[in-house]
């Protein structure tokens, strides 16, 4: 197994709409399947260490003004079960934003049957929302020969 890359599950164990909390190299990591795309975040909220990946999945909610609710089911956040801080599954960035230290994020690639195939990369700055001060650690996820592989990165 290449350094930093770990098989965490067979792809059938994490069907779309589900998640699995795994222990990888001493870290608790939540692996999510959202409509066929995998995401992985450190299962530890940067606020008080709560089990972030056990929280509700929420759709992004924007607003142009009081009384207006722009609910976007295609964009998913995970909401910490403790104090409700929301993190973008795609980037690990928090929704609210004073300027603080960022937690390192990781690139994602998808591989099939052992052959590397360039896959969707997650931009390090994913436009809206503006990156928040607390960024949950995010790990690279691939599907390799029907297995889900988490890349802990450099």
């Amino acid at each position: 197994m290449p350094d930093g890359r770990h098989v965490v599950a067979h792809v059938d164990e994490i069907p779309p709409g589900s998640r699995k909390i795994v222990e990888v190299a001493g870290r608790s990591i939540g692996v999510f399947n959202v409509d066929g795309t995998f995401h992985a975040l450190r299962n530890r909220c940067p606020h008080q260490g709560g089990p972030l990946c056990e929280g509700f999945l929420m759709s992004s909610l924007r607003s142009r003004g009081p009384g207006h609710y722009d609910h976007r089911p295609g964009e998913t956040l995970v909401r910490c079960p403790w104090h409700g801080w929301e993190f973008d599954l795609r980037t690990g960035q928090s929704w609210f934003d004073p300027e603080r230290t960022r937690v390192r994020s990781y690139r994602v690639s998808v591989e099939n049957a052992g052959e590397p195939v360039p896959g969707p990369y997650v931009a390090e700055n994913a436009g809206e929302p503006v990156p928040g001060p607390y960024v949950a650690e995010r790990y690279g996820v691939t599907v390799e020969d029907s297995y889900v592989v988490v890349d802990l990165g450099r």
Binding site: Q48, E54, W82
Partner: protein
Amino acid sequence: MAERASGAVIDCDIHNAPASEAALHAYLPASWRERRAATARLDAVWESQRETLGDRSYLGSEYPRATPRAARTDAWPPNGGPPASNLPFLREQLLDRYGVEYGVLTPMLGAGEQLDHESGAALATAINEWQIAEWLDPEPRLRASINVAYEDADLAAAEIHRVADDGRFAQVLLLIRTAEPLGRRKYWRLYEAALEHDLPVGIHFGGWGRGPITSAGYGSFYIEDTVGMATAFQEQVTSMVCEGIFQRFPELKIVLIEGGIAWLAPLMWRLDRAWKQLRAEIPHVDRLPSEIIREHFWVTTQPIEEPPRRQDWPALLEQIGMNDRIMFATDYPHWDFDAPDRALPSFVDADVRQAIMSENARALYRFDA
């Protein structure tokens, strides 16, 4: 994964809950069980109270709250029942995980908010008996709070006298929003009764004040209600100080639970200034309010404020000047739970940290009775 703090931990605010209404009904006096079953109105009131866990007024003020039952979404026991209804799961998630030496139960099940005070008194009895049977007896680390129908001081006193000999009751429990300000005469007999048993009076976030939480009407959002509870704490401390209950009851100890702590410092400054100018109106208050507060009040940490700058923290503790009175609490299972290993900043002086995390509570409550 254990996150034990390096020193002792005493948790001064745990909200245990019954698994169902039937579980509490079993502890009601028999005559009251029959009456509740026969009266739909009482059941409807009861159901509404149950749904809101005592955190809300139930008249004219409903909001979607942050989470189901305002609880951490990971606190629902795997075998069923609402958060904090299952002792083994509570041990696992809280007592064992964090190495909690003692935990003080503060069930908020609406006993004091019933408009029918006698119904509230029966409910209080049931809550206290349930605490004994299902929490205190099986778990030696737990202590309980005496629930009472606090809007009727005679009924409240009777319940205090009934159970206070059980030394595992650490305090009498009220909610911070009451029908009248808590310094007023109607509550004096309750304080008297608590003192007869040398019990502190714990006053907790929540309650129904018979009107809006603000002096400018009802807010529209839950966020206003939860931020606004700090105003209720400020006003009640003001009332208790200005009505002179600590001159009347020099041994009285008050624990303010789940209000946070930072507002105490500006309140003390404000009251001191007001007293210096207006003390002719309250001649019975014979010294600075800040002295009275530092002598008679304890306060739990949660929801602990998070000042933006590192230097704000020691400044805040110095401004409050109550390092011997601040007591750690988790507020388990609520969503704004403070974790024992993370809530206090790491740079707080070790002696102060240990005082807050356990020793202040140990000095106040009778844990070894």
